[in-house]
């Protein structure tokens, strides 16, 4: 039996990336991995940088590199707000590695425990998450 579909909307600051029905959304909140099916209970979650998978049914899966963001579920509709949503195929591993190296060297030059250092660490975590999405291409 085909699974029930539900509406998913993905918004980034640069526009709408996706607005269609899917079977399942799989992503990661700051608490842990989560898979959302239709008729999920209302939820407000904070998302980490990771791989975002949209299962469209018939084995078709859309993969994105997901930046930090939020997911709001209500009325059997999921709204995903993320800072980046890059289709996995568009990622460039070499470029990501170069940017990680650049931020790491900046981080070394900074004093530990400043907000600047924390923001560099966040950048590195995000870029590394993107890199692992790129690696599984």
């Amino acid at each position: 039996m085909a699974k029930t579909l539900f509406q998913v909307e993905i918004l980034t600051p640069e526009g709408k990336v996706f607005d269609d029905e899917v079977e399942m959304v799989s992503t990661r909140t700051s608490v842990g991995s989560i898979g959302v099916l239709a008729n999920h209970t209302p939820l407000l979650a904070m998302l980490d940088a990771c791989e975002l998978r949209l299962h469209k049914g018939d084995g078709e899966i859309l993969r994105f590199a997901q930046g930090e963001g939020y997911m709001q579920i209500g009325d059997n509709k999921a709204m995903i707000l993320i800072e980046d949503a890059i289709p996995a195929a568009d990622l460039d591993a070499d470029d990501l590695e170069a940017r990680i190296a650049e931020r790491k060297s900046e981080l070394e030059a900074m004093d530990a425990d400043t907000e600047g250092a924390r923001s560099a660490e966040r950048d590195i975590t995000r870029l590394e998450a993107f890199l692992s999405v790129a690696a599984s291409n």
């Binding site: 918004l11 640069e14 989560i34 209970t41 209302p42 407000l44 939020y70 209500g74 709204m79 907000e115």
Partner: protein, 300 residues
């Protein structure tokens, strides 16, 4: 009087300039349309972030204290971010921002406050450096098409400097986009973030539709106040992104207008020079006839 050939050359060179300026005008017009679309596509995201913040704040009971919401009792150093373009040839676009920034610096100096400079766009960076100002942060190379990541880089830098105490207030100067013909210099206080801008600004009718069903039943992952901790800085990122986008649209608008004026100017110059060229040609012909007539008279 300039010879016929000299004038002809000048007409040619003005005509070439006109070709370039009208091409630049068309390029700017196309980019302006794209920039306008991008401003429009930020709106739903910003609206959704605001709704979530209100929901999380309602669930958390109150907005906890964040460093970027706290006002400093005494403002000693003001951070000024100038949002300019990477390129010139856009009329007063860049210079009016720089002038506004310098004027603000003078006012702060009078009140005994120091200024720490930040600039986005090569024009702002180079003219501040030229004036001998030390830049605490320079961001360039993206003003044709700013990405959200660029706004995040700037926002994180400013917030870090605010939290770490390098600045006690942050102001942003940018060209607000009104229309292709009109851009106004806007000065906004970015940090400390106003509590009111986060919570009280209830937007139009959309508010009614989105809330409704079972707030109390909503699950939070993690706790609402932890979520708020990340939502609040997003406001700063979004408002910087909006200023970058508006500045880009303004830049293209200003360039379009400047280039149209330049093309029209070139037409006038070509007209004048053509007249001069015809006069020069007529003078040469008259001269030759006179010489022929004088020559034939001499033979008789």
């Amino acid at each position: 009087m300039a010879s016929q050939r000299d004038v002809k050359q000048r007409v040619e060179s003005v005509r070439n300039i006109q070709k370039i300026t009208s091409a630049m005008e068309m390029v700017a017009a196309a980019r302006l349309r794209r920039a306008e679309t991008r401003i429009a596509s930020l709106r739903p995201y910003a609206g959704a972030i605001r709704r979530m913040t209100r929901q999380a704040a309602a669930a958390a009971g109150s907005v906890p204290n964040f460093p970027i919401l706290e006002e400093r009792a005494e403002v000693k150093t003001v951070g000024i971010l100038l949002v300019t373009g990477d390129r010139g040839l856009a009329g007063a676009f860049n210079s009016q921002i720089i002038r506004a920034g310098i004027r603000a610096e003078a006012e702060h100096a009078e009140a005994g406050r120091q200024v720490r400079w930040y600039a986005s766009g090569r024009r702002g960076v180079s003219s501040l450096t030229f004036r001998g100002k030390e830049l605490a942060g320079s961001f360039a190379g993206f003003t044709d098409r700013p990405a959200y990541g660029d706004a995040r880089t700037i926002a994180e830098r400013l917030m870090a400097d605010y939290i770490d105490g390098h600045v006690d207030e942050v102001q942003v100067f940018y060209n607000g986009y009104v229309s292709a013909l009109t851009q106004v210099v806007r000065a906004e206080t970015l940090l400390p973030l106003q509590r009111a801008s986060v919570l009280e600004e209830v937007p139009e009718a959309e508010e009614e539709t989105e809330t409704g069903a079972g707030h109390a039943l909503t699950e939070y992952e993690p706790d609402p106040d932890v979520i708020l901790h990340r939502l609040i800085p997003d406001y700063v990122e979004i408002s910087i992104f909006r200023s970058l986008l508006e500045s880009t649209a303004s830049e293209h608008g200003a360039r379009m207008t400047a280039m149209r004026n330049a093309s029209e100017n070139a037409s006038d110059v070509i007209e004048d020079l053509t007249l001069e060229m015809n006069r020069a040609r007529q003078a040469e012909i008259t001269q030759e006839i006179m010489e022929v007539v004088a020559g034939s008279e001499a033979l008789v």
